[in-house]
């Protein structure tokens, strides 16, 4: 049984492989035709997404990212063995090569826009059901507008972007942006300028992350 962390291109510099994999396992590489997978061998492994294990996975991926281009795999990617991994690299060679090119020299930044108060106890003048509900509708429209503005402005600075369903309040926008390394500072400045529009919201930028959201082709 093997656990796979990421796809990159050979050679993976030694410093990235000096750290240990999950459970202290040695990090190994398997190269195929311009691609390389970083993995570790395990007799048995049941990786539940606990914070420490996910962080461990992330650290391995970040170490590879620090030395070159990387396609991070989702936490928990396991295969029967090296043969299967080799087959996979061969079968998906063209797609993976395109993906490496897409993320080369770029980094993922996460953006979250949240409302500051999730349960406002009724705004002034909300005495009737009608006022209350129409107030919620107006707030919803303000939020939608804000989300559109933020996404348009940040999307313009990005090579690619993807919006995730934000679930429920307080998040009104959860998105990821693939940004040229040289434009990260500009992206952050733009995000700072957008923060707090409209009043009652806040905007958080996280990252730089390995390009988890852009590792596979958009379908």
């Amino acid at each position: 049984m093997i656990y796979v962390y990421a796809i990159s291109e050979p050679p993976v510099p030694a410093p990235a492989l000096r750290r240990r994999g999950l459970g202290g396992a040695t990090l190994r590489t398997l190269a195929r035709d311009g691609l390389v997978a970083v993995y570790s061998r395990h007799r048995s492994l049941h990786p539940h997404p606990q914070p420490d294990l996910v962080l461990h996975h992330e650290r391995v991926v970040e170490a590879i990212m620090a030395t070159g281009v990387v396609l991070p795999l989702r936490f928990g990617t396991q295969l029967a063995g090296e043969d299967r991994l080799g087959d996979l690299l061969a079968a998906r060679h063209d797609e993976l090569t395109r993906s490496l090119e897409r993320v080369r020299g770029r980094t993922e930044l996460g953006v979250r826009v949240m409302t500051m108060r999730s349960f406002p106890g009724g705004e002034a003048g909300e005495s009737t059901g009608r006022d209350y509900l129409l107030g919620r509708v107006r707030r919803h429209r303000r939020h939608e507008e804000a989300v559109r503005d933020v996404h348009a402005a940040l999307g313009a600075l990005s090579a690619a972007s993807c919006i995730r369903p934000p679930g429920t309040a307080p998040a009104i926008l959860v998105a990821a942006y693939l940004v040229d390394d040289g434009r990260v500072a500009e992206f952050r400045r733009q995000a700072d300028q957008l923060a707090g529009r409209p009043p009652g919201t806040r905007l958080m930028v996280t990252g730089p992350w390995p390009p988890y959201s852009f590792a596979t082709e958009q379908r």
Binding site: R117, G129, Y132, L133, T168, A171
Partner: protein, 86 residues
């Protein structure tokens, strides 16, 4: 969220979990109501009643939260790297 510690912690943890789920449902209902208003076709009377129901639900939710000494943030289960539930 881990359920451990003494009985009071467990009770509070359980209340937190239950209220989080109720809050999730409340927000979904609010969103559905907003969609219905935006789609048009609700009578003034329906809007009033829907609004009253949601307003009462929100206030009751706040009271329950305070009864259990929970903050708004407490009703947002942190799933670690998977993000916040709400």
């Amino acid at each position: 969220m881990r359920i451990e510690g003494d009985r009071e912690d467990v009770a509070r943890g359980l209340a937190q979990l239950v209220l989080t789920l109720v809050e999730l449902v409340r927000q979904l209902m609010e969103r559905q109501a907003i969609r219905r208003v935006e789609a048009g076709g609700l009578s003034a009377d329906q809007i009033e009643r829907l609004g009253q129901a949601l307003m009462a639900l929100e206030r009751r939710m706040e009271e329950l939260r305070e009864d259990f000494g929970l903050t708004e943030e407490d009703l947002n289960l942190d799933l670690g790297p998977l993000g916040k539930l709400l």
